[in-house]
């Protein structure tokens, strides 16, 4: 394994930097998609539908005051998380920012524990201590769920560092939005990843808006192309087409796993809702734009049409999947409603590993104060 101190831009990396035009479809023909069975395709579709219905049910719950704080919905971006996470091998890891429900569902976390977390209940995946922005599932290689824009990118780089250090063939997918690309921490991470050739793929989910500020008003230059300045491979693809997402990401995942090469992949997507549920979103984009996307580029619609054409989905099956997804989300809301809140005694648990494992504690003295 090359030493992290060696810094010589490899020929392949430079070539890839030049070869960076946005990928074209039809991505169905890509081998990674050709090997999908009918059941696999239905599973992909189902996951996207479950994300959609879960997010809609969360919105209703938020407006009914069941959920406090922030709620950043993934509606419109489903193909990105589902496409990327469907490619994960046992040594691949995922980390993302606060728009994390889609990734959580895509890696296989249960809806009950997620909804309970939103409701702040003790049965939530973070015991009610994290909330919407902080879903985690280490056992599914999912490392959150982070609130500070760009703050998770060095962490994701660290996951890749650990994989390489341990000699494991795996990759870390570190997701961020188009607003995060200008954070200093992200640039520092790009440099480290390329300098040390760490197996991390920086995935930019570009939904066009950083809260209320469009890409043109935030960022100089092309978002993916900045990678070239760090000698990293990069690409851009269409995030409304789950086949395209898979085809593009698969290429870079292979490079990361086999050759420990980092990359930046910009995935162009769109969110129908505001940045968060409190965002009126009529101050920075026209309604017509949202309607246009809904009609022509909804990732679930796009995939549905493709699968109907392929003979994988029927109207009855679509309806059944939809109803199931709604019912599952409704059941999750009921589960959350019926669950208890944490107690005040829980506030000081899960702060220190040592305090949570008192028989193994080596330190003395006071860890907490009044």
């Amino acid at each position: 394994m090359p030493s992290p101190v060696n810094k010589k831009p490899s020929a392949t990396a430079v070539a890839q930097a030049a070869d960076s035009a946005p990928c074209a479809s039809p991505a169905l023909s890509a081998p990674i998609n050709q090997q999908l069975t009918k059941a696999d395709k239905i599973a992909l579709f189902t996951t996207m539908m479950r994300i959609r219905r879960f997010e809609e049910r969360s919105l209703r719950a938020y407006q009914a005051k069941k959920i406090g704080g922030f709620l950043h919905l993934y509606i419109g971006q489903e193909a990105v998380a589902v496409g990327c996470c469907s490619l994960m091998g046992k040594n691949d890891h995922v980390i993302t920012a606060y728009r994390d429900h889609g990734h959580a569902i895509a890696v296989g976390m249960g809806l009950n524990e997620q909804m309970a977390e939103l409701y702040g209940k003790a049965t939530g995946c973070s015991k009610g201590k994290g909330g919407s922005m902080h879903f985690f599932a280490p056992d599914r290689n999912f490392w959150g769920g982070h609130g500070i824009v760009g703050g998770q990118i060095p962490l994701g780089t660290g996951l890749a560092y650990a994989l390489k250090y341990k000699g494991l063939k795996g990759a870390a997918m570190a997701f961020m939005g188009d607003g995060a690309v200008n954070q200093g921490a992200v640039h520092e991470a790009y440099n480290l990843a390329s300098l040390w050739q760490l197996p991390v793929i920086f995935v930019i989910e570009n939904n066009g808006y950083s809260m209320g500020t469009s890409q043109e008003r935030s960022s100089a230059g092309d978002l993916g192309k900045r990678a070239a300045g760090y000698d990293m491979a990069w690409a851009s693809c269409d995030g409304h087409d789950v086949y395209d997402v898979r085809a593009t990401m698969d290429k870079f995942l292979q490079l990361a796993r086999e050759e420990s090469k980092p990359a930046v992949v910009e995935i162009r997507t769109y969110r129908y809702r505001g940045h968060s549920v409190a965002d009126p979103d009529n101050t920075y984009r026209p309604k017509a734009e949202i309607e246009e996307y809904r009609k022509t580029k909804d990732p679930i619609q796009v995939f549905q049409q493709a699968l109907v054409a392929e003979g994988v989905l029927s109207d009855a099956l679509i309806e059944s999947i939809d109803q199931s997804a709604r019912a599952e989300s409704e059941a999750a809301a009921e589960f959350a409603e019926a669950s208890p809140f944490p107690t005040p005694d829980d506030i000081q648990k899960d702060v220190y590993w040592e305090a949570d494992h008192p028989t193994e504690r080596k330190s003395q003295g006071r860890l907490f104060f009044d």
Binding site: E56, A64, P280, N282
Partner: protein, 442 residues
Amino acid sequence: MAQIIDMPKLSDTMTVGTLVKWLKNEGDVVKSGDMLAEVETDKATMELESFFDGTLLKQFVPAGGQVEIGAPLAAIGKPGEKIEAPAVKSAPIAAPVAKPLAPAAAPAPVAVSAPAPTPAAAPAPLAPRPSPLAPAAAGRVRISPLARKLAEEKGLDYSRVKGSGPQGRIVREDILTAAKNPPAPAPAAAATKAAAPKANAWPWRSVLDKSPVQADSVAPLSNMRAIIARRLVESKTTIPHFYLEIEVDSAPLSALRNNLNAGLTKDGVRLSVNDFVLKACAAALRAVPAVNSSWDATAIKYHSAAHVSFAVAIEDGLITPVIKDTDTKTLFQISAEAKDLGKRAKDKKLAPAEFTGGTFCVSNLGMMGITRFSAIINPPNSAILAVGTSVKVPVVKDGAIVIGERLALTLSCDHRVVDGAVGAKFLNALRDHLENPALLLL
């Protein structure tokens, strides 16, 4: 049943929303995802989305209406369906008025207002706080926590210890030194709590001090002051007061009291003059029960039990605890009860039942050096007794001038209930009991 749509929470800080404009009218068909109305929140104007399919059966809030989160906005369902129109809650009103303190026995109090010269409403600038560096007020001792603890452990009265620390603070060394060389014993007349100053001591201020009398300030009325003001104005303006005075030869009382107290020191019991007065009043009320009564607009109420109350000065005012059934209790019971009630009155720990329901009141300023005074009747009582201090005066006895001891009693009477003759009889009975105090021991 029709689905009720409530005003939703549309931002993390929103509490109320204004329905700016309806986008769907009553009778319109509505699909899940359609926008029903425009709602203005604290942050922005948002669109209200329907999660249900159906017909908009009813709008509960008109355009422009502002309601709280959770208030019903509309009903969606099948045409002709029953709607349970819940009561519309308007936006919350301002915080409720503060509740006044529970008063002494009287009709329900109202918030104090107008006639008082100082309006309580306007927030007035408070008197400037004394500088934290001002010398300790008279009677206040500077002592470290450790030294205080040590003094308590050794049973040492630290008020007589000179402090060697900064600003005269008593420190551990000083206590240890004092313990080895105890100071001269305190004069016998001092009370059991050595540090307590005499009741009529006034805060010393030099005649040479030419600074302002005090800082100009406007102090808002406390509940207690407001209640005292209201009740006493009511009493003085509605009750026709007249005053009867009598002098009591208090020598026998003093002799008996000193005798008893000498024998009771080991028990830590000390009878006061007022204990005897309370007992004597109870006896006098038995003898002249017409005084144990109340004016009641069209009638006079006579009470079967005598509950004598007594005035206690407390911080910022006074209160009158009551000894129930005074006439059935012994002097010693009365003394113990009065002591307990007095202490708890000062600590503001009396229950309402303990300062209401008196039928007669005694106000004693004897320990403050006052020779005689007239008190204001405490409604609904019909009289109040004011007790002065015992003084040694020259008196005529058997044609010669000798030194006697006299105590002045002044009875204020409500002329609607107690006439001069009745009052006089009461005072005479009272005097006779006090001048034959042995009777009070029975």
